[in-house]
Amino acid sequence: MKIRLFDICHGRSGDKGDTANVGLIARKKEYYPVIAKYVTAERVKRHFEGIALGKVERFELANLWALNFLLHNALGGGGTKSLKNDAQGKTLAAALLKMEIEVDEKIQY
């Protein structure tokens, strides 16, 4: 089935220089293995094509049912250098929640 991350996750994003961090948190414990399986660094890099210009790193926090992504070279230089309206990547968590994934598992909302 096809699911949108927004329906099973919440999140928050912020900046460190020109790198954005995007935290993705499963709304229920049983959703965590699903995002851990399907929301890979490669998948996220593809999703943020044209935004995350550098590499994408992924870290797991199973204890918080969460994944942390680092999107390198994603903020137009970062800080006061950036010409982006969202120079601190505050809306990028929402952008990740728009992602749709095709899963084999049956998800109960």
Binding site: H10, G11, R12, S13, G14, D15, K16, G17, N21, G23, I25, R27, H47, F48, E49, G50, I51, F59, E60, L61, A62, N63, L64, W65, A66, N68, L70, G76, G77, G78, G79, T80, K81, L83, K84, N85, D86, T91, A93, A94, A95, L97, K98, M99
Partner: protein, 462 residues
Amino acid sequence: MLAWGYSSSSEKLKNFIRIASGQGFWGDLLRAPLDQVTKGPVDYMMMDYLAEVTMSIMQKQKRKDPKLGYAKDLVELMGEILPICVNKNIKVITNGGGVNPVACSEAIVATARKLGIKKLKVGVVLGDDILGRIDELGIDLRNMETGESMNSIRSRLQSANVYFGAWPIVEALKQGAQIVITGRTTDTGLTLAPMIYEFDWKKDDWDKLAAGTVAGHILECGGQASGGNFSADWRSVPDLARIGFPIAEAYPNAEIVITKHENTGGLVTLQSVKEQLLYEIGDPTQYITPDCVADFTTIQLDEVGKDRVKLSGVRGKQATDFYKVSMSYLDGYTAFGTLTYSWPDALDKARKADEILRTRVNDLGLKFDEIRTEYLGYNSSHGGIADIAKEVNEVVLRVGVRGKDRESVERFGKELAPLILTGPPSVTGFAGGRPKPSEVISYWPALIPKSAMKPGTLIVEA
């Protein structure tokens, strides 16, 4: 849950302490600190004022007036809360001293005198500002991300501050300070310090130090842990207008309950705490501070009551041998202009205006390192991820330029307004006047051996 109140003997270790978050950044909700010290019991209040760019702004203010260079509204705020803090014996710890913590503490002492408060001890943490000593130190503070030598930015350096941790604050508390003013101390150190001081934690109690650091990370952004910027379900947050900032109720065994005052807005839930834990972190197993290296993958969270989330099980590792240095340097100029285009064909008109603008600045031979166009209300936040509307009623054209040549950036600002009478129709929203160039302050992170630095403390008394 322990009842409120503990032994009156100051010699005895307390059963628990309550540390309130008062400000999450310079410019935060001004009412929050007053609420924190009046709406329920607290022992400490921490206030975080400093971001990476803040130090350079403060250095600029200090260059104009050697008595400035700190968060001025902190002094006004202290005037408001000092009588309450003295009366209730609440200690206040803040890094609002910026690049001039001594002048800041003197201003607070003067305020205390005006209020008739006597014998107030204000502790000051010194030694983080190394801008004036950078040559004398004789260390090339290479960019820790690129490895580049400091020489390339030496002449444009605006600020250089070492991130100290909790221990200098602990020293000030031991000397009897009720108010502690620091310069570039880590946000997390402001919360960790009172736990170390009250519970007599040791320098190698890595797990406990890590737990206090995690609590500090939760508190350092104020309302962002208690219902502000809450993506899980923002509609469900009660009374955001009167949001209560978070409070850490810390126990000697390093169990910590995140809560907030009753009868305030907002919420403290697993989800609100998790969102803040995920904010601005890198590798979660290596959350590096001067005090320890905390492992965020060991944090256990439990909801233990309404607006009460318990934090336990946190593991920490030995601190590194280095302090992080936050440096900033001048890196050119930017200017931004916006114009609003309405139906019909709002987006097409905005695009045409952008094309005309670019042709004109090109004809003028203006030099920029970057020129960027965004369409607010259309896709500026999410680019290609955005759902594209068939027809938007209006769109804001936002053009930004950046360059080394100040005159080019200034001239760009004069090319915006003419578009109103010499560009596409149904345009408005040019009330702010010509865009002015502003300085780009770039950030240069480095490491310095701890052995090269000596944090100092000073007590100023009213």
